[in-house]
């Protein structure tokens, strides 16, 4: 198998050994290994030594660091240069991935999926979400690996490219718009069949949840609020049976 393809495939499992000491470094070392096979024995061992040190990045962009570092190793650059490059990529790859994927593509695809689920069917919503999200996901993974491989030590150029900047500029607003649209549409569909008073009750609970998460008790949000709210409803249901 082509070493670049092998690394691409291995990046799909890069977080399997995530730990609090070295984060994803063990998975990253496992992923970069096919690209380092061409190195002379001594240089290979040194490269693997560097590869197992602390490392973290967005999982979809980790391929960029792997291929850029491997390219630099293969070019015979000093070990200190490789170490610095590897270290310098941690923050930008995390930041770009978080802004583009977690704060942009993900909410956008989920929002659209929820709207389709409410307007067409949950199956259609799930399929729409999966297709939209994974087109962006696999495009990112493939682009990242190739960009790192082509740019090598100059990989920062890929991260400051116009396309990526524009992508980050539009991803957040699209995600926010899609979720904003999805919340009332999905909420309205889920509460269909209930009276207007009941729907107003749903909106009140929603506002209460936002107030708790934003101002009253920020640590008490989402899951914890939901569990407690369900328990309160259970008790009230018993009391007024």
């Amino acid at each position: 198998m082509n070493p670049l393809t092998a690394t691409w495939l291995r990046t799909l499992l890069v977080q399997a050994s995530f730990n609090y000491d070295r984060m994803i470094s063990v998975g990253a070392a496992w992923a970069i290994q096919p690209l380092l096979r061409g190195l002379p024995e001594r240089r290979y061992r040194e490269a693997m030594r560097r590869a197992t040190q602390f490392f973290n990045a967005h999982p979809y962009l980790v391929g960029m660091a792997m291929s850029a570092v491997a390219r630099t190793e293969l070019a015979g650059e000093p070990g200190e240069t490789v170490r610095r490059l590897r270290h310098a990529l941690i923050s930008p790859l995390g930041s770009v991935g978080d802004r583009l994927i977690w704060a942009g593509v993900m909410p956008a695809a989920v929002g659209i999926g929820l709207v389709v689920a409410a307007l067409v069917s949950p199956v259609a919503g799930a399929v729409t979400f999966l297709v939209l999200y994974n087109v962006a996901h696999f495009t990112m993974r493939t682009w990242a690996l190739r960009a790192g491989w082509h740019k090598g030590r100059q990989v920062a150029q890929a991260l400051t490219g116009r396309g990526l900047k524009q992508g980050m500029r539009v991803a957040g607003p699209i995600g926010a718009l899609a979720v904003g649209l999805a919340i009332p549409v999905a909420g309205g569909w889920l509460a269909r069949g209930f009276s207007l008073h009941a729907k107003l009750g749903v909106a009140m609970v929603g506002l209460l949840a936002v107030a708790f998460a934003q101002w009253i008790l920020p640590s008490f949000r989402g899951l914890r609020f939901g569990i407690v709210a369900a328990l309160v409803a259970l008790v009230i249901g018993w009391a007024f049976r």
């Binding site: 730990n19 040190q53 904003g180 909420g187 069949g193």
Partner: protein, 223 residues
């Protein structure tokens, strides 16, 4: 559910692995996990509905770095198993509650698993520092195996809880309906708070507001 138990167990385990360790193609999103579990059980509407409610809760999560996050995917599988066959809105609240509890158990299990990975890495620190491929491989594969076991065990617990709540849900008729309404509201609140926290900046929050206004208008006019 008895006939489909094996398939649900397999699906839940795959969903648990997708959360972080394998692929992250997002079959672990509750909308997908719940809908597919519903399809397995022959009730995609119930699975999809609880998946949608849990998806609203999941929008509260930003899975960055070493952040701890609930396992809503396996939660959605357990919720679908609880909701399947229940009459309409009656089963949704109880099912989503089950899903939230399983998601929380999944979160605790992730913490335990990552701690075990950390111990493993510390035990083999010298060999890793030496760049030994065999150690890299074995530590990595053990991490994968741990997540496989975690996903399997959490799914098993989730399906067990689903059977218990489906048969002996400790709630009244009015309580079940109230739970449904309260959890839809809590999900809406969680999604709103989540996106507000993610976007933070002024210009982007206006897009969220615009979407909300259009969505509310659509609901008021059409529904």
């Amino acid at each position: 559910m008895t006939e489909q138990f094996g398939l649900l167990l397999l699906w839940g385990t795959i969903v648990g692995l997708d959360l972080a360790s394998v692929g992250q193609i997002m079959i672990a999103r509750p909308l997908v996990a719940g809908t597919v579990a519903g399809l397995i059980l022959g009730d995609p509407l119930a699975g999809g509905t609880v998946g949608m409610v849990l998806e609203l809760f999941a929008l509260d999560v930003l899975p960055v770095g070493a952040a701890q996050y609930p396992d809503y995917g396996i939660g959605a599988v357990a919720a679908a198993a609880t909701a399947a066959g229940s009459p309409g809105a009656l089963g949704i609240g109880v099912a989503v509650s089950t899903g939230l509890i399983v998601a929380y158990v999944g979160e605790l299990a992730i913490r335990v698993m990552r701690q075990a990975n950390t111990t493993d890495v510390r035990l083999h620190g010298e060999e890793l520092d030496a760049g030994r491929l065999r150690t890299v491989r074995s530590v990595h594969y053990r991490g994968l195996l741990r997540d496989l076991v975690r996903s399997l065990v959490v799914t098993l617990l989730g399906l067990g809880l689903a059977v218990v709540t489906y048969r002996w849900a400790p709630t009244t008729l009015s309580g079940a309906l109230l739970m449904t309404l309260v959890l839809i509201g809590a999900g809406i609140g969680a999604a709103s708070a989540g996106i507000i926290r993610v976007v933070e900046r002024g210009a982007v929050i206006r897009w969220f507001g615009l979407g909300l206004v259009v969505g509310v208008l659509y609901v008021v006019v059409v529904q």
